[in-house]
C-alpha cells in the first residue's frame, strides 16, 4: 500500500470542506463519534442535517466564524492507498496556505462551482498549483446536483477552461463532475450522470500514478547529523534527496571538494548495498574526510550548482513585506546561512501570469528575486528536485518563517566579461588551429612546481603548433565569475587555456567545471614526490590525469602531459573527454 498526499483548493462557497467531509464519510474515514460531535454542534452552516464541513474545521474560531483558518491534515485509507489530505482554506490567505499544503502534495483538487463555471479564482488556483509544480490536478466540477447533472453544462465549463489548464504543464489532468452534498461521483460512480464514464474522485485518487522521485544517478545527500559513537563508526546521517547510492560509489563532499567512496550504507535494521531516494540512511566513507551538518555528498561528475547568487521564485508568507535592505536567513536542505535579496526582479500576477514591476512584496504575493547568500549553496532547480530546489527564508529578529522559495531552472549567466561580436565560430577556429579549444586546470602538490610546469607545458604546446595561454587564477581575486567568463572567451577564440589554480581551491574548480561543461575542462594533477612523501599530504582523489614531476624532470613531465592530451584527442577530431564525464 502506498501513500498519496493531496491538497484541496477552493473557497468555502465551492463546498471544499463538504467534499472532504463526504470523502471521509463515504470512505469510512470518519468515525461515529466525530459524526456525533458534528451533529451535537451548535453551529450548522449547511442545508443538510449534518454539516460535513464541521468534520474538518477544528478550531473554536473556525466553528464560530464559519471559516477555515489554517491548513488541516486529514487521514484516511482504503485497501489500495493511504491518503494524507492537506486541507487549505480558500479565503485571502489562500496562496500562503496553498503553498504550505502543496509543498508535499502529489496532486491538487481544484473545485469549480457548476453554476458559475471557472472564475478568476479558479484560474488563480490553477496557476498557483502550476507554479508550485504539483504534478497532477483534478478539476472537480462540484454542485452538479444544482444544474441537474447536465452534460451540456459540464461540457461548456470544460470547453471554456480546458485550453487554459492544458497550457499549465501538469503531468495529468482529470475532470470529474460531482456533488459533494449528494455524494455523486465522490466515492461511488453516479447513477444520475450516466454520460460521465470516467472514474469517481476516490477511484481516481486510488489509481492515479504517483510520479516517482527522480531516479537519475546524480545523487544528493545533504548531511543532517553525524553519528560517532566510537572511533570505528563515523556515520553521516541524512535523507537521500535524489538518485541512487551504492556501496563503492565515489562521492564528492561539498564544500570541502574532497572525494571518497561509500564504505557502508547503515540503517538500524540492516546495512544496504544500494539505496534510492527518498530514504533516511547513515553513510560511512572509506576516508576520514571532513564532513559535517550542512555539507552535501554528491555525484562527482553531476554536481549541483554551487552558487552564492541565484534566482528563485518566492512566495511571501509574512504580514511584514519583503525588505530588500534587510538580511534574512535561508534554510536550504540542512544548511542555514545569511542572505540578502539582491534584486526583486518582478512580481507574478497570479491571475494572468504576467510579470509586474515591483519594489516590495506583500503577503501571498509571488515574485522572482535574485538572492545573494553569504556562503555558497548546493542547488538544483525546483523542477529537477523538490528537496535541493526548495528553501525557506527566516526573519533573524522575529524568527518567523517569512517566505518559501523555489530555485528556478533558468539561472542568469555568470558571464561578467566583455562580449564578443565575432562572426567566426569556435568550430571554424578549432579547424584552423588544428586542435580543440580546451581548458586545462592544473593542480600541483607544490605551488612552485605547478607554476614552472605551467610555463613549460605552454612552451611545449606552442612549439607543437597550439594556440595556448597560461592564466594566473589569482589575478581573478577569487571571483569565479570573472575567471569563468575569461576562460569562456578564450575557448570561444579556439585557444588552449592553462589555468594555474591552487590545489585547495576546490569550489572554484568545481564551479569552473560545472559552468563550462565537463567536455571543455580537464584536470591535471602535477605530483611532486617530495610533497607526496609528506604524511600530511592528502591526495586529491580526482584529476583526469596525473603527471609525476621529479626535480629537474620538467621535460619528461610536459612530454607525458602532451602525450596524454594527444591520446585524448586534443589534436584530433574528438574533443578531450575526461574519463568520468558524460556517464
Amino acid at each position: 500500500m502506498d501513500l498519496l498526499r493531496f491538497s484541496t483548493a477552493g473557497s468555502v462557497d465551492d463546498g471544499k470542506s463538504t467534499l472532504i467531509g463526504r470523502l471521509l464519510f463515504d470512505s469510512k474515514g470518519v468515525f461515529e463519534d466525530q459524526l456525533e460531535a458534528a451533529e451535537r454542534s451548535t453551529v450548522n452552516r449547511s442545508a443538510g442535517p449534518i454539516d460535513l464541513s464541521l468534520l474538518t474545521d477544528g478550531l473554536r474560531a473556525e466553528r464560530e466564524q464559519g471559516i477555515t483558518i489554517d491548513v488541516a491534515y486529514r487521514y484516511f485509507a482504503t485497501p489500495k492507498r493511504k491518503f494524507i489530505i492537506a486541507d487549505t482554506p480558500g479565503h485571502e490567505q489562500y496562496t500562503r496556505n496553498m503553498a504550505t499544503g502543496a509543498s508535499t502534495a502529489d496532486l491538487a483538487i481544484i473545485l469549480i462551482d457548476a453554476r458559475y463555471g471557472a472564475l478568476v479564482q479558479s484560474r488563480r488556483h490553477t496557476i498557483i498549483a502550476s507554479l508550485l509544480r504539483i504534478p497532477q490536478i483534478v478539476i472537480a466540477v462540484n454542485k452538479m446536483d444544482l444544474v441537474g447533472f447536465s452534460q451540456a453544462r459540464f461540457d461548456e465549463i470544460q470547453r471554456d477552461f480546458k485550453p487554459f489548464v492544458d497550457q499549465m504543464g501538469f503531468t495529468g489532468v482529470q475532470w470529474i463532475p460531482l456533488s459533494a452534498l449528494s455524494g455523486d461521483n465522490v466515492v461511488t460512480p453516479s447513477a444520475v450522470a450516466p454520460w460521465y464514464t470516467g472514474p469517481s474522485l476516490l477511484e481516481h485518487l486510488e489509481t492515479v500514478e504517483i510520479a516517482p522521485i527522480d531516479v537519475r544517478d546524480d545523487f544528493r545527500f545533504p548531511v543532517q547529523f553525524v553519528i560517532r559513537p566510537n572511533l570505528n563508526f563515523r556515520g553521516f546521517a541524512g535523507l537521500l534527496a535524489a538518485g541512487t547510492l551504492k556501496v563503492g560509489d565515489e562521492v564528492l563532499a561539498l564544500p570541502a571538494g574532497t572525494r571518497s567512496k561509500v564504505k557502508q550504507i547503515h540503517t538500524h535494521d540492516a546495512d544496504l548495498a544500494v539505496v534510492s531516494a527518498p530514504r533516511c540512511v547513515t553513510v560511512l566513507l572509506e576516508d576520514e574526510i571532513d564532513v559535517s551538518r550542512g555539507d552535501m555528498l554528491v555525484h562527482p561528475q553531476r554536481m549541483p550548482w554551487v552558487k552564492r547568487d541565484f534566482d528563485a521564485r518566492l512566495v511571501w508568507m509574512d504580514a511584514t513585506p519583503l525588505d530588500v535592505t534587510r538580511p534574512y536567513l535561508i534554510k536550504h536542505t540542512t544548511r542555514t546561512v545569511r542572505v540578502k535579496i539582491a534584486q526583486l526582479l518582478y512580481r507574478i500576477d497570479t491571475n494572468t501570469l504576467e510579470h509586474v514591476p515591483a519594489t516590495t512584496q506583500q503577503l501571498n504575493e509571488i515574485s522572482r528575486v535574485r538572492i545573494s547568500a553569504a556562503q555558497a549553496l548546493y542547488l538544483d532547480s525546483y523542477d529537477a528536485n523538490r528537496t535541493t530546489g526548495s528553501f525557506i527564508l527566516i526573519d533573524p529578529l522575529t524568527n518567523a518563517t517569512v517566505a518559501a522559495g523555489m530555485v528556478v531552472a533558468d539561472q542568469p549567466g555568470e558571464d561578467q566579461g566583455v562580449a564578443t561580436l565575432s562572426r567566426i565560430d569556435r568550430a571554424a577556429r578549432e579547424a584552423h588551429n588544428g586542435h580543440r579549444a580546451q581548458a586545462i586546470l592544473l593542480a600541483g602538490t607544490s605551488r612552485d612546481a605547478q607554476s614552472q610546469f605551467a610555463h613549460a607545458l605552454e612552451t611545449r604546446l606552442f612549439h607543437r603548433g597550439a594556440q595556448v595561454l597560461v592564466l594566473d587564477s589569482e589575478s581573478a581575486k577569487g571571483d569565479v565569475a570573472v575567471l569563468t567568463a575569461t576562460v569562456r572567451l578564450l575557448l570561444g577564440a579556439g585557444l588552449v587555456a592553462l589555468i594555474d589554480l591552487p590545489l585547495d581551491k576546490r569550489a572554484e574548480r568545481d564551479a569552473l567545471r560545472r559552468s563550462l561543461g565537463a567536455d571543455d575542462v580537464v584536470e591535471m594533477l602535477i605530483e611532486a614526490p617530495e610533497f607526496t612523501a609528506n604524511s600530511d599530504f592528502q591526495r586529491p582523489v580526482l584529476a583526469d590525469c596525473t603527471i609525476g614531476l621529479r626535480r629537474g624532470g620538467l621535460d619528461a613531465a610536459t612530454a607525458q602531459a602532451v602525450t596524454w592530451l594527444a591520446d585524448h584527442g586534443l589534436f584530433g577530431t574528438h574533443r578531450v573527454v575526461s574519463p568520468g564525464a558524460g556517464i
Binding site: M1, D2, L3, K28, F31, E32, D33, Q34, A37, S41, T42, D57, G58, L59, R60, A61, R63, I69, D70, V71, A72, Y73, R74, Y75, A77, P79, R81, K82, R96, A99, T100, S103, T104, Q224, F225, I227, R228, P229, F233, A237, G238, L239, T267, H268, P278, R279, C280, K331, H332, T334, R386, T387, S390, F391, I392, I394, P396, N399, T401, A404
Partner: protein, 310 residues
C-alpha cells in the same frame, strides 16, 4: 485491510509505513542537530514506545542525544509504569521522572474537588516546571494529528512561548521538510515526529517491528462498569458509584492515559494482528472511545493546548 492483517509478511512491502518512518527519523535528527537540549516524553504508552523505536533507528549505534522524561500523573496503570522503567533500562537511556504528586505537595497545583479529578490538565504545570528545570529547548511528544481536531491543525514543530502556550492563529508555515526551529531564550518547541501516523499505522508498526507493549493493550479480564456508554475499568483510582454494577469482562485499552478517566473497550484481541483487524473496521475514534475529558466541550483539547499541554 483483512488480507494483510492475516499475512504479516506482506506488511514489509507497505511503502506507506516506510515513508512515515523516514519522515519521523528525519524530524528527530533535525531536532537533535539544531537544538541544544532536546528531550523525549516517554510515558510507556504505545505511541511513545513507537517513538523510542524511531529514535533507535535515527541514532543507533550512538546513544540518544537526549534524555527521556515522564510526567507522572500519579494516576497511572501500574503495568504501564513498570513497562516504562523496563524499557528505559533495556535501552540504556536516561529517564527523568517528574510527578504531579510532588507539584501538589509543593503547592504548585491544587486538586479540583469532586469526582472529576482527571490529571490531564493538572500535569501542565509539572511539565512546564520540568522543561524549565532542565532548560529543554525542544520536547518530543508522540501526538498524532488523527487523534483530535485541534491536533490536526498543529504543526510538527509547534512553537511555544515562554509560558508554554500554543497560539493556533500564529503558527509558522511549514513547507517541504524545512522546519524552522529558531527560538528566543525561554521559548521552546514541541515536536511531533509521528504527526502523520494514524492509530492503524501505529498498530501496523508495532506488529511489523514486533514491539513489546504493556500487557493491558491486549485482551484481559478486568472488573468494569458501564458509565455514559463508556467501559470504565474499576480500581482504587476509579471506584464504582453506589448504583453501579461491577462486572468482569474481557477488555483491552486503546489508550493508556489517566487511570481515572481512561475507558477500555470490550475486545478479545490478544495479538497486534488481531488489534489491527479490529482497528481497521472500528467506527469510533481512539479518543472518542476512551477519553472522558475530551467530551467536556467542543474545544477542550484546544484549550488545554493553549495552556501548555503537549
Amino acid at each position: 485491510m483483512e488480507s494483510f492483517a492475516q499475512n504479516p509478511s506482506q506488511l514489509h512491502a507497505q511503502s506507506h509505513l516506510q515513508a512515515l518512518e523516514d519522515e519521523s527519523i528525519f524530524i528527530m535528527r533535525e531536532v537533535a542537530a539544531e537544538f541544544e537540549r532536546p528531550c523525549l516524553l516517554f510515558s510507556g504508552g504505545k505511541d511513545s514506545i513507537v517513538m523510542l523505536r524511531l529514535a533507535e533507528k535515527a541514532f543507533r549505534p550512538g546513544k540518544f542525544p537526549f534524555p527521556l522524561m515522564h510526567i507522572d500523573t500519579g494516576h497511572n496503570f501500574p503495568e504501564v509504569i513498570a513497562f516504562r522503567d523496563y524499557r528505559a533500562a533495556q535501552l540504556g537511556e536516561r529517564l527523568i521522572v517528574r510527578s504531579v504528586e510532588d507539584s501538589i505537595k509543593a503547592g504548585r497545583i491544587v486538586e479540583r474537588p469532586g469526582q472529576d479529578n482527571s490529571r490531564n490538565r493538572m500535569q501542565i504545570p509539572t511539565l512546564l516546571d520540568g522543561i524549565a528545570e532542565f532548560r529543554f529547548d525542544a520536547v518530543f511528544g508522540g501526538a498524532r494529528r488523527d487523534e483530535e481536531k485541534a491536533r490536526a491543525k498543529e504543526r510538527i514543530y509547534s512553537f511555544r512561548d515562554s509560558h508554554g502556550q500554543w497560539d493556533p492563529k500564529n503558527q509558522r508555515p511549514e513547507l517541504w521538510n524545512l522546519y524552522n526551529g529558531r527560538i528566543h531564550k525561554g521559548e521552546h518547541i514541541r515536536v511531533f515526529p509521528i504527526s502523520n501516523w494514524t492509530e492503524l499505522d501505529i498498530w501496523q508498526y508495532i506488529a511489523t517491528e514486533q514491539l513489546e507493549i504493556p500487557s493491558i493493550y491486549y485482551a484481559h479480564r478486568r472488573p468494569i462498569v458501564i458509565r455514559n456508554g463508556l467501559v470504565l475499568p474499576i480500581s482504587d483510582l476509579l471506584p464504582a458509584l453506589p448504583d453501579e454494577t461491577v462486572e468482569e469482562r474481557t477488555v483491552r485499552f486503546r489508550t493508556v492515559g489517566d487511570a481515572t478517566c481512561t475507558a477500555c473497550v470490550e475486545s478479545p484481541a490478544a495479538t497486534p494482528w488481531q488489534v489491527i483487524e479490529e482497528t481497521a473496521v472500528t467506527r469510533i475514534t481512539e479518543r472518542g472511545a476512551t477519553r472522558v475529558d475530551d467530551k467536556v466541550s467542543e474545544a477542550s483539547m484546544e484549550d488545554r493546548k493553549r495552556a501548555g499541554y503537549f
